[in-house]
């Protein structure tokens, strides 16, 4: 039985994939990512900054909470842990370490945990922390050892392991050489098991000197450059969050394939998604009595004999010109196959040939894979540099997956950009822009409109200047998703009502009106006549006619049989509306649950065609 199920489910997935042949296909999940926050709980962390600035501890908790809620939305299967060191009290699995407090062990984040972290925020949070954990001696070695145990206690397959240390003390052991040495040993043990250690150094009076101690603790940056180590300490929550977020998300290649310049000249590249549409997750079915999730199984069987159908006993069909055309299942796949996966260079074009409105899919990002073909990075880098200099893009034919038809893409060069804090803002590489085929462009019939005079244009310019702002791509939250999670949060935590969400993509009309003041009226006086009201719809009158028309149509959905037969014969059923077709189906005893027009037509034709 098992084979049947797996088979049919697989087919489902295939079909879905084909439906939305998105560039952001499902990630290949090979194991769980896990992230441990190791937070300094010494007294220094709780010192508030000047001007009512939050303490380092408060800032850290804020950042941690954000990661928790983001993970719930973006990748709830990742494991998170929160551990404090330099505490008075101790709490860890075997209670073998002093001054280490495991607040959350490695697990998927949930509503309860978010609440726990919330409790540690603000003045009340500092108080709670003092009560439950207190501040005491520091042994980073013990803390790291304890964290190592957290990783090894997990029985699941782990893929990416990361540890973030939050502290404002550059010499945690106060110059105790032995303790420093122990900590270094433990850190290198951890790194050997594949854990990446990051330092989130926080502001302290006199500056944070990494070279004192932490340079030996943290993992070397990926690219062997000096970059990363010399990061200035964070003194702003925003910076800290940015830095945490940059580290917290593991970049996963959507695909690794070759960029082929010509026969025998191919480099290895990875495809990454810098932006994918986040959606509300799908619902899970639960058993009513126990609220436990149920599994669904789909099977295909023969309607008459009731026997399960093998893949070989199923074929695929489409109807065209009243004829059913049947193909084998693997033929259906074979049709879509043009070539092997990969990018194939066609040529180069000046950047201005990339039309703004030729947009069909979000872009993806291309970066070389030196691990697979040595020399890839060098050639890639040369291409990137020259394309950038000459302001051209590379046109490629792209087959993203096996048995996918080709699309053409523009490889647009992107230079690396680094901010003042030496953090990377944009990575070096090519952005892949998907280009439309002839079928994807629609022919429009643009209405003829009068041109505005310069006076009118100038007035509008004044309006525009009043409403200028600096666009940031991360400034807008998706209200639909946020509301959904607030609702869930409220239900999970038995809250009376969900937290309010602010709809950030709602125009702030009061502010706009205030800023524009009289400009609006001045502009209107210039372009609109006195009695013109753009809000009133001249279509209103027509609407009533239309609605009456609709009512009439509804009244006579039934068609005489001979008329219908004639239409079947002439193949003009398409002229009828869906309700009429449904009625006709009923009339001729065609049982169908279809709602699509074409399906209804097919059903009728099958029944009525001679």
């Amino acid at each position: 039985m098992a084979e049947w199920n797996t088979y049919s489910r697989q087919e489902d997935e295939d079909e879905e994939e084909m439906e939305g042949e998105q560039a952001d296909g499902p990630h290949k999940v090979t194991g769980r990512d896990c992230l441990v926050f190791l937070v300094d709980a010494s007294k220094e962390m709780f010192i508030k900054g000047g001007d009512g600035c939050p303490s380092n501890f408060d800032m850290t908790m804020h950042a941690v909470r954000n990661v928790y809620t983001n993970k719930i939305i973006s990748s709830h299967r990742d494991l998170l842990a929160l551990v404090f060191y330099g505490t008075e009290k101790s709490k860890n699995p075997r209670n073998s370490f002093k001054h280490v407090y495991v607040y959350h062990d490695l697990d998927e984040p949930g509503a309860k945990r978010v609440q726990d972290v919330d409790a540690l925020r603000g003045d009340k949070g500092a108080q709670l922390a003092a009560e439950t954990m207190g501040s005491g001696e520091t042994s980073l070695s013990d803390a790291l050892w304890c964290c190592a145990n957290l990783y090894s206690d997990i029985k699941l397959r782990l893929s990416h392991k990361r540890l973030m240390i939050f502290t404002c003390r550059d010499a945690p052991h106060g110059g105790n050489g032995a303790k420093d040495r122990q900590a270094r040993t433990k850190a290198s043990d951890l790194k050997e098991t594949g854990v990446v250690i990051d330092l989130m150094n926080l502001m302290k009076p006199g500056g944070f000197d990494i070279s004192l101690f932490f340079c030996d603790i943290v993992s070397p940056p990926e690219d062997d450059s000096e970059l990363g180590l010399q990061l200035d300490p964070c003194d702003k929550l925003e910076d800290l969050q940015k830095r945490v977020r940059a580290k917290e998300q593991k970049k996963r290649a959507l695909a690794r394939l070759c960029l082929c310049l010509s026969e025998g000249l191919s480099i290895a590249v990875g495809i990454y998604a810098a932006a994918t549409t986040a959606r509300k997750p799908g619902a899970i079915r639960l058993f009513r009595e126990s609220n436990e999730p149920v599994r669904s199984k789909t099977r295909t069987f023969h309607t008459q004999t009731g026997s399960l159908l093998l893949p070989s006993e199923i074929k695929k069909a489409q109807v065209y010109g009243k004829k059913q055309i049947v193909m084998e299942r693997d033929e259906v796949d074979a049709i879509k196959k043009f070539d092997d996966t990969g990018l194939c260079l066609i040529g180069f074009k000046p950047m201005e040939k990339l039309k703004l409105h030729h947009h069909i899919r979000p872009a993806v990002f291309l970066y070389p894979e030196e691990d697979e073909v040595k020399g890839s990075s060098c050639l890639f880098s040369a291409l990137l540099k020259k394309c950038g200099e000459r302001n051209v893009f590379a046109l490629c034919r792209y087959i993203s997956r096996r048995n996918y038809p080709p699309r053409f893409v523009a490889l647009v060069p992107q230079r690396e950009e680094i901010d003042e804090g030496k953090a990377q803002i944009t990575p070096p590489g090519f952005n892949i822009i998907y280009l439309p085929y002839a079928d994807d462009l629609r022919t429009l019939d643009p209405p003829l409109c009068p041109l505005a005079s310069q006076v009118q244009v100038d007035k509008m310019k004044e309006i525009i200047s009043k409403l200028r702002f600096k666009y940031r791509r991360d400034a807008f939250e998706n209200p639909v998703i946020q509301q959904h999670y607030r609702n869930l949060e409220a239900m999970a935590l038995d809250m009376m009502a969900p937290e309010d969400t602010e709809d950030l993509i709602m125009p702030k009309v009061d502010q706009i009106d205030h800023r524009l003041g009289l400009l609006v009226q001045e502009f209107k006086d210039l372009v609109y006549p006195a009695n013109y009201n753009p809000e009133s719809k001249p279509a209103a009158k027509r609407k009533t006619v239309e609605s009456r028309g609709r009512a009439e149509k509804k009244a006579k959905v039934e068609l005489p049989e001979d008329e219908l037969m004639a239409m079947v014969k002439a193949g003009t059923l398409g002229k009828l509306t869906v309700p009429v077709l449904k009625e006709a189906c009923k009339q001729f005893g065609v049982s169908t649950t279809e709602t699509k027009k074409q399906e209804l037509i097919n059903a009728l034709i099958l029944r009525l065609a001679p």
Partner: protein
């Protein structure tokens, strides 16, 4: 509202002269028929609502409404105006033949016009067209030419001519005048010359300027028609108001301008034997995640969502009530920003929308125009909240000004939400290890030079030689090619990708030639070595060569059988005996794997066949026959005919006793006979015997019936039944 559709009449000359041809060349009739077929195919697959009629002239018989008193003879209205289908294609294939009469093409034109006139009575076509395919070799009566032209004009009917020769010498496109191609003047009869003059006269009277453009040669038409029609959708207007604050609004209308088009039809699943989709049902069941996989009724399940590690039961009703709600349709400005703040690679969604001022509203037009120009002059864009309607989720997006010669608009594209973003960081490439040398950089430079797809011609105008947005989606072209192939020649393997399509997807030949030298240089200065990666051998294999582990679809085509067995192995695990679900497959798998001795496997198969025959049901008969066919095939393959022959002979013997005559008839129909010496050397059956084996039975039966018929009347009925 009336749908835009056309009435098209195809009027083809099938007369005597059309079957003429130069030696080694296709007859005009064949060329014209091809044009006809290609054209109808395109219409069928485009599911166009255009109605089509077929009129043949030069036919032996006469069948048209105007035929009276010896007028309009030898003209047949083969099919009245209706939406074309495969039936029409089959009729063209099988019923349109060269015939031996000749008819006046002007008469045929009149019949067509009459057809349109009658059809347009009460129906609304927005275009009427008559296409004449003829060699003009008939005597024409030009007396009524002026009346005809007048009527064509009056009815607003357009004309197209498809001729075997070009209308003008210099009109022969490109290399059209190949060897043996009948050029103008050469080989044209007086009638044809007169005919051509008349055609020109008509066409120029209908359209003084471009009339002659509608005269095509058959040959060019075939070439142009091989591409399937691109998918066309009528743009849907989205009327709305662009608002800035509470008191400034402009009436606008939006249209989807670019979006990834999908095929309208999806595959349905049908039963392999009956080809009926009603025979296949899919069912989803739910079960608990316990050891027994206890099944749960759908009604006993509720909906829940994951919140991290928690699963929160959340009914549909609650969800509906608590979900984010908004006021519906809107296009509201949040503010304005510099255009360069919007990065192309952060465009989201899968479409771009063009926004225009509302139709027939001068004032909206002026207001809208001021906005577009102001944005353009300031090099800014509007950031807007866009919601299609109440049910759809609101978006944030950018509206770019776009000023063209004939129109002005805003181009709207969706921008990301915070939740959509992944912050990617990658190691810098300004690393000593990867920094390219000057030689390497100049090699890349000359590669770019040689591969520029946009060139300036002598007039200083840019010419793009590879316009992606002019290429038809190859997936659709291939899809229709295969569907068409399967529809007209079922039972044959799918054809390869058409050469023209392959060429369209490839680098232009001129570039290919030019870039060879720079590429060779590039190869020289950039050493590339494939890293043997033990960890991921599969990925490496996928990149650098065909992956032998995965079935290749192309290979599958060539070696169907092989493929099927592989699939079977994967989906079924190992086969240990011939089961009843798919005995044929089990049988073949077992023989292939040599898990059991041949005799043993055959015995198992025979056992199943006998079981099926016991059921006395047509479906089981069919299954038995496929078993026997497989039995035969494998026996031939393994050159061991004895087991099969002896079983078939004994089976034949037992037919009358077991009342399996119906089954035997089926077997005879399928011509499943004994294996002869010719096929397998070891067989004791001669070729004649094998062919007589089934036949003889019939004869014998007939004889038997004949002999018994004399005795009793009843047997007659029995025979009738058979």
């Amino acid at each position: 509202m009336a749908k835009a559709k056309s009435a098209l009449i195809l009027c083809m000359d099938v007369g005597f002269s059309m079957s003429n041809s130069a030696p080694g060349e296709e007859s005009h009739f064949e060329s014209a028929k091809k044009v006809l077929q290609k054209f109808v195919q395109r219409q069928v697959f485009a599911e166009s609502k255009d109605e089509l009629a077929l009129v043949l002239f030069g036919t032996d018989s006469t069948s048209n409404p105007l035929a009276q008193d010896g007028q309009y003879q030898n003209i047949t209205v083969h099919r009245d105006l209706m939406i074309p289908d495969f039936e029409l294609l089959e009729e063209i294939e099988n019923q349109v033949h060269p015939e031996s009469q000749q008819a006046d093409w002007l008469d045929a034109l009149v019949v067509c016009m009459d057809l349109i006139k009658k059809a347009t009575n009460g129906k609304n076509y927005d275009r009427c067209n008559i296409s004449l395919l003829t060699d003009l070799s008939t005597q024409t009566d030009s007396d009524h030419l002026d009346v005809i032209i007048k009527n064509l004009k009056k009815a607003d009917t357009t004309l197209q001519f498809f001729l075997p020769f070009p209308a003008e010498e210099d009109r022969e496109d490109g290399d059209g005048s190949g060897p043996g191609h009948s050029g103008l003047g050469k080989g044209l009869s007086t009638q044809q010359k007169n005919g051509l003059d008349m055609v020109k006269h008509i066409m120029l009277s209908l359209d003084e300027e471009d009339g002659l453009d509608e005269i095509y040669t058959l040959r060019n038409a075939v070439e142009q028609l091989c591409m399937f029609k691109r998918i066309e959708r009528r743009p849907m207007a989205w009327p709305c108001q662009l608002t800035i604050g509470t008191s400034l609004s402009i009436r606008i209308v939006g249209f989807k301008a670019v979006t990834e088009e999908k095929l309208k039809k999806t595959w349905t699943t049908v039963d392999a034997q009956s080809h009926q989709k009603e025979d296949v049902r899919r069912e989803t069941i739910y079960c608990l995640d316990d050891d027994n996989e206890t099944e749960v009724q759908k009604d006993d399940t509720i909906q829940g969502f994951r919140y991290g590690s928690d699963i929160v039961p959340f009914s549909k009703v609650d969800q509906e009530q608590m979900k984010y709600k908004h006021d519906g349709k809107c296009f509201a400005v949040l503010g304005f920003t510099k255009k360069n703040m919007i990065e192309r690679h952060y465009f989201m969604g899968n479409q771009s929308i063009k926004i225009f001022a509302a139709k027939d509203d001068q004032h909206a037009g002026v207001a809208f125009s001021s906005l577009v120009h102001a944005l353009d002059e300031l090099d800014m864009v509007a950031i807007v909240r866009y919601a299609y309607d109440r049910r759809s989720n609101p978006q944030v997006g950018a509206a770019f000004p776009c000023i063209k010669q004939h129109y002005e608009c805003l181009v709207y594209v969706q921008l990301p939400f915070m939740e959509d973003l992944r912050h990617l960081t990658f190691p810098s490439l300004d690393n000593k290890k990867f920094t390219p040398s000057d030689t390497q950089l100049s090699a890349v430079d000359s590669l770019i030079d040689s591969m520029m797809l946009v060139e300036e011609d002598e007039n200083g105008e840019q010419r793009d030689i590879f316009k992606v947005h002019h290429i038809p989606n190859p997936a659709f072209q291939r899809h229709f090619q295969c569907l068409h192939h399967r529809a007209v020649s079922p039972g044959t393997p799918l054809p390869p990708i058409e050469p023209w399509l392959k060429a369209v997807l490839d680098m232009p030949e001129i570039i290919n030639e030019r870039c060879q030298a720079p590429l060779a240089e590039l190869k020289k200065v950039f050493p590339l070595t494939v890293v043997e990666n033990k960890k991921k051998p599969k990925t490496a294999a996928q990149i650098f060569g065909k992956d032998s582990e995965q079935p290749d679809a192309k290979k599958a085509n060539e070696d169907d059988e092989e493929q099927e067995f592989n699939l079977a192995d994967i989906s079924e695990g190992s086969v240990t005996s011939v089961g009843s679900v798919d005995p044929t497959r089990d049988f073949c798998t077992l023989i292939k794997s040599k898990a059991l001795p041949f005799g043993e496997v055959c015995q198992q198969l025979i056992h199943r066949i006998e079981q099926f025959l016991g059921n006395k049901n047509t479906q089981y008969y069919m299954k038995s026959i496929t078993c026997i066919q497989a039995f035969r095939e494998q026996s031939v393959k393994l050159e061991n005919a004895d087991l099969y022959n002896s079983y078939l002979q004994s089976l034949k013997g037992s037919i009358p006793n077991r009342g399996l005559e119906v089954f035997w008839d089926l077997l005879v129909q399928d011509a499943v006979s004994l294996i002869s010496k010719d096929e397998v050397g070891g067989s004791s059956v001669s070729k004649d015997e094998a062919s007589q084996f089934l036949l003889a039975e019939e004869k014998k039966e007939e004889e038997a019936a004949a002999s018994t018929a004399q005795d009793t009347e009843d047997v007659d009925d029995l025979l009738d039944m058979m």
